[in-house]
Every structure is written in structure tokens, then in C-alpha cells.
Symmetry: C2
Subunit: 345 residues, 2 copies
Amino acid sequence: MKNLVVIGYGGMGGWHVQHALKSDVVKLLGIYDIDPKKAELAESRGIHAYASFEEVLADTAVDMVTVAIPNDQHKPVVIRALEAGKNVLCEKPVTLSSEDLQDMIDAANKAGKIFSVHQNRRWDVDTLAMKKLYETGEIGEIFNIESRVHGSRGIPSDWRGMKQYGGGMIYDWGIHLIDQILQIVPSKIDTVFCRLDHITNDEVDDGFKLELMFENGCRAYIELGTYNFIPLPRFYMQGMKGTALITDWRENCKVVKCKAWHESDVMPVETAAGLTKTMAPRDSITVDEYECERPVSDVHDYYRNFVKAIDGIEPQLVTHEQMMLDMKVMEAAFKSAELGQVIKF
Amino acid sequence: MKNLVVIGYGGMGGWHVQHALKSDVVKLLGIYDIDPKKAELAESRGIHAYASFEEVLADTAVDMVTVAIPNDQHKPVVIRALEAGKNVLCEKPVTLSSEDLQDMIDAANKAGKIFSVHQNRRWDVDTLAMKKLYETGEIGEIFNIESRVHGSRGIPSDWRGMKQYGGGMIYDWGIHLIDQILQIVPSKIDTVFCRLDHITNDEVDDGFKLELMFENGCRAYIELGTYNFIPLPRFYMQGMKGTALITDWRENCKVVKCKAWHESDVMPVETAAGLTKTMAPRDSITVDEYECERPVSDVHDYYRNFVKAIDGIEPQLVTHEQMMLDMKVMEAAFKSAELGQVIKF
């Protein structure tokens, strides 16, 4: 068991506290929040609130801190914690630029402490289902993956809507969706193309469309929308032997595999304003349709690994290299959107 | 009634013949096909087969010809027919380059005859439903339209798979889907970005992904796939007041409109690996959901207009200007795909 303090007692801070209270690998020593009201709230719930960040750092009982504060504040807090000899688990996005991240990684290396980012959505069952299909080759070699998350509430009206705090949907959701794709496709990125939405917010992106072309020929398309009153499917994947679809994270992955390419007679189909043979639906005898088994997943394995990494038993799952790659893809996405161009990665 | 000869008795030629036999505005005098077997087939069905193209042109009873032959042959046949004083209805794509099209338009203007292209899919009910939503503003100002046609039979193994005959899906389906979008969005195109598929055919594109950004801020995305064993929805449209979806051409347009933006309490939703407030589904009390009335459509209005245009009663519906714009978008799409870049239109 490692002794944990959670820095920031907002939405995700609260999640980390709840998790820690039930954890089999960490013991919650308390929280620290810059806002006295949050500290009061924690105390009212029987959770110790440290009086200052310095007090957390000075507490030699603290093995690790989880940083769950606005994105623009991650860097100084993480570096100070590392310099104080704490292991640091940071919420995503780890920071706002690759230069800043390099400084944080340097601080971790210098301190000899574990520093990793909470890429919890690697444990999303939809992502795991897609990753399995990619790896097993069940629907053949994959040439296209589309990942969409569609909401209709606009961008949150808190700091996530403000540029100075690292708001915007690339930072908030893009970091997850990019990281997921990079977990699925084991290839280098060739080009990046991104369009940002500004539907309800001019200051930061309230959605985006991001295309990654990989060197192995696979295309990944990532779309985040906050103004989609009808959501499109969560995941869509095309392979040389079939297609896979996940409607939303509650649903299983549906697969349609081609088992007989040629049919003796394709009858043209009459649509509203013309014939089509190319687009005529397949006979069911030429395909196999089924649902994949739902992957087993426990997001708390993230903390288990983190603690084992502190003890030197396992390498950390979310590595510095991966954190840097995620960051560089986000930077490339912003640059592409600014230029309105495809850019070489 | 105008006297018609159909040039080319293949798939679409057969469609034109069938249509003409029931038409209230044209009378079928016969067909001409370069292939004697097709001529025999026509005769066996009681349809007169002209012995040569010259014979068709020399027949002073012929008011108009419909050209339904491989794309690379359109230009010489159309120009010769115009020069012989026939009105010409040409299958899509009208030809393979804007230079060739200009020559054809010049020939039509010189001859003072009607020359138009069979953009029959303007009468597709799905397209008409989207056009109506765009025009009425029922879901507010439109900022995104996605048009997809997904089949799983690969590209046809006839001339449509060969470059020299003007094969490929941009020419075969792109011309329809581009023309439909240009009918819906009344704005100039700013940029074009296109990716071509080569999944089952290296010679021509067997699918494509095409983004058009309009000067009015609207984005249109057109996707044609021939290797999609699960189809994505036919049309998806986002406006400032809601979202519209058409699953496939047999289904009605479904609309979800926002009627109350703010809700008192948004409860975070627990997904597989984390919370989300941004992506929490809406309460049904904050939205109106309904199906739109199915548009009434009769593709034969194309021929009715053509005949009225010959008589000078109506302007032709598919204008030279529109034909040229469709062609230039296709050229821009090919260029963008070749460069792997967004191009200014």
C-alpha cells in the first residue's frame, strides 16, 4: 500500500478520492485544494484536507500524489512534487506543450520517481474490443478506424471553456481518443489533418475532426462533437475481411465478415432515383454476422501498475514516450487546424 | 412528344429505354449500340436498332439522343450529335475533364441545341429531405452535412474498374454525390480535400472521402465506400437548432431538435473507464424528436424539363454552369488526393 494525497478536489479529484477509499493498493492520506470551500467539503466527508501544498510535500508519509487540477497548472505542481521526492500521477492532458512535458520528464528522471498520466480510457471496453480485433486479424488487415464521441451539451461552462486554463475538447477528450488510437495501431504516424469546431465557443475548440494517416497504410479518424443531437456510432473499423461497429460504449462490438466474395447474380437495386448494382445489399449467405465477446476491463489496474512501478516490479504502463507522442499529436492537430492543411508528422 | 434514340444499350441505356416506353413526353424511335449483340437483344425485345450512329444522326425524325455509353466516349458522340442538330441528354459523368466539357458546351451553343446531363439523383428523396431542411431552417443554420453511400461489393468488374474508360467511384458515384451537395448548399466552395481508396483496385479509386468547405462556413463531407460490410448512415446534418439523420434511402429523415438548452442538474455519467458530464445523454424533455414527411419525387421530371427546354418553355434544370462546377470539383478532388493536401478551389 502506498500513501496517496489527491491534489484538487473537483470532478476527477473526487473520482480519485472515491477510488482510493476502496483501493487495494493505495491508502488516502487526504486532499489538498486551493479553494477553502473544497477543503471544507472534504473535511465534512471525513477526508483530511491539507492546509497547503507545502504541507503535502513536507509530509514524509506521502508516497505519491495524484494531480487533478486545471491543465495549465499541472506543470509547476508536478515538478514541485517530483522535486520533493513524491511519485506523481497526473490527470490528462499531462500539460499543454511538449516543451513543458519534457521539463516534467526531466524532473522525474532527475528525482528518480515515477511520473505518469492517468490515461484511464485505455480501459474503455470499446477501445479494448477494437484493439483485440486489430491484433487478432479477425477481420483481416485493418485499413480504417473511426472513433467518434458525440454529445449535445456544448462545452462545459467551467475552465474547460477557457483557453488560459488549457480548455477545449482536444485537451479534454482528444488526449483520450488519440491515446486510444495509438494503443490500437502499432505504426508511426505519417500525416495529421485536423479541423476544429467553434460552434458554441470561440475561445477554445468545442469539438474537432482529426485524421491520422499511419506509415503502415492505416487511416484513423477521430471526431469529438459537443453539438450532435443524434450521435453517430462510437467505433467503426474496416479490415480486408470485414467491418466492425460499436454503437456506443454500452453495446457490444458487432462484426460482419465476408465469407463469399463472388455471387452468381447481382441484381441491380432500384433506389428512389436510379438503379445500383454496386450498392446492392449482400445476401446474408455471403456474410457472417455476430457480436464479439465483451472485453473484461478494470480501470483500477492503472493504480495497481503505478504502485508496482514505484516498487520496481513492473514498468509503468503509460510511458514517458507515449505521453510525449500524445502531446506531439495534439500539437500537430492544432498546427494543422491553424494552417488548414495536412501536415507531415 | 419528342422523338428519342438511346445511344448505348447497357445498364443505364436499358433504364432510359424502359423509361421512354412509358414516357408522356418522349417517343422511343430506337437504340444504337456499337455491339451487334446488344442490337440483336434490342430487336428481340421489339425495339428498333439503328445500324450505325451515322444512321441515327441522318434520321431527321430524331429530336434528341440520350447518350449512355462508357464515360471516355461521351465527348465525340455528344459533339457529333449536336453538330447533326440533335438535342443531347448525356449520362453522368458528362465527360472526364473540364476542357472536354467546355468543347461540348461550345458545340451546344454553336448548334443552338439543348445539352444537359442526367443528374437523376437530384430526385433522390433523401437528398430532397436534406435540401428542404437546409432551406427551411427547421434545424437552424446548417454547419455540417455528411453524405455517405456504403456498399460491400468492391468496384464493378466491367469498364468501371478501368482508367481508360473513365472508371472509378469519383466518376461513377462522386458526380452524383457532389451534385447533390451543390444543390443543397447555396454557397461557393472554398477548399477541397480528398482521399481516394484503392482497396480492391489499384487502377482507379474504389471509394473516396471528400471534404468541401464552403465560403458560408458550411462543411460537407462526402464518402463513397465499396468495402463497407456495415453501412454508416446515408445522410447526417447538423444545424444550430438540432441534428438530422437518414439511415438509408428507404428510411425517413429523423430529426432531434433542442428545445431547452439549459438543464438544472447534469449528472455525470459513469462510462466503462471514467466519468463524463460533457457527454451525458440529454433528458428527453429538452429535445423534440420526430420524423420528417417523405418528400414527393418523380425522376421523370428530368425528361419533362428537358423536352420543355427544347421547346423554350423552361430553362434546363441541369445547367451548363452546374455541369462545369461538378466537373471542376471532381478535378480538384483528384488533384487534392494526388497531392495529399487541402486545395483552394
